[in-house]
Symmetry: C3
Subunit: 129 residues, 3 copies
């Protein structure tokens, strides 16, 4: 069910982009229990000067290129699941790429199941997870 | 009131882009009863390798280029209205372009009327539809 | 806490882009009381034909290039704060650039504090503003 938007600086290799995307997807599978084929991502490449973030915030230094991960998903996940998801995303990305876990912003937008159509103009998810 | 973001693969013609956008807008007019001049869209052209989706999900095959339609609108529409909207979007796009209705993902984000300013820094919609 | 997405027509100068971004940020500092280093923006440059808006809506004419400002923030701000924010954004942008206050659409998306991770895969904001 999630739709993921990953905003990255322009110029990352195809491998790095793929690893970032797979990192988020496998974390969603593991912690939000989405199926493997529920994989809908937009990778948005932004000119570096258009991706703005502070040198440091909340004691976390941003030393290399930050990336922003926006996840839109149906509501219903617990706080524990969300915490586990963020940790897993940061772990997956920072082990499969050179991006540091300090440099990953994650934001989750939640809506209702009836707010999704995955094709044919139909509401597939209204009655089940 | 809606703000629509349409994510498409790079390379579609101006006509196709226009037909997609008009398809979504006329469906919103018909089913969400927005006025004709409430027409605010961003068409985002994404390199094909950055638009990620599965070959099949929930029994729906994705055989050609998928597009993602994200609609942000004030809450208050019924489930029936939402269902009718998705169907109409899929119908309009699949009849005015070569994009198949299987290849249209739609997600609706809802907020409050007070969360909109359509110009001048004012809240135009707080007291009425 | 906010993540700001500013959609603008391609071709604005670095100075104008910077002034728009700073305008939104200083308005958020002033009216939503965010700290100076809580500054996370994506500036999205869109081909002019892909940024669609009406000539006029709700009595507001769009005479030059419109821009769309989408702010995702934790819920909890009052209607008064939101109204003040929109006014301040429009004032700041229209005084620091040639963009008219009529040509600024603002939309606010709200979520929960637990829906944010600002780095390290941790939830920094759950217990405080």
């Amino acid at each position: 069910m999630p739709l993921v938007r990953i905003s990255i600086p322009k110029g990352l290799s195809a491998d790095i982009k793929s690893n970032i995307s797979k990192s988020v997807h496998s974390a969603l599978m593991q912690e939000f229990h989405i199926p493997a084929d529920d994989y809908f991502h937009v990778i948005e490449e932004i000119n570096k000067e258009n991706l703005i973030y502070p040198e440091s915030y909340l004691g976390i230094d941003h030393t290399s290129s930050m990336i922003f991960v926006q996840i839109t998903a149906a509501q219903g996940r617990t706080f524990e699941q969300k915490k586990a998801l963020y940790l897993q995303i940061a772990l997956n990305i920072s082990t499969s790429t050179a991006i540091k876990k300090e440099d990953i912003l994650i934001v989750l937008l939640e809506n209702n199941r009836e707010n999704w159509s995955f094709g044919n103009g139909e509401v597939q998810h209204f009655t089940h997870i």
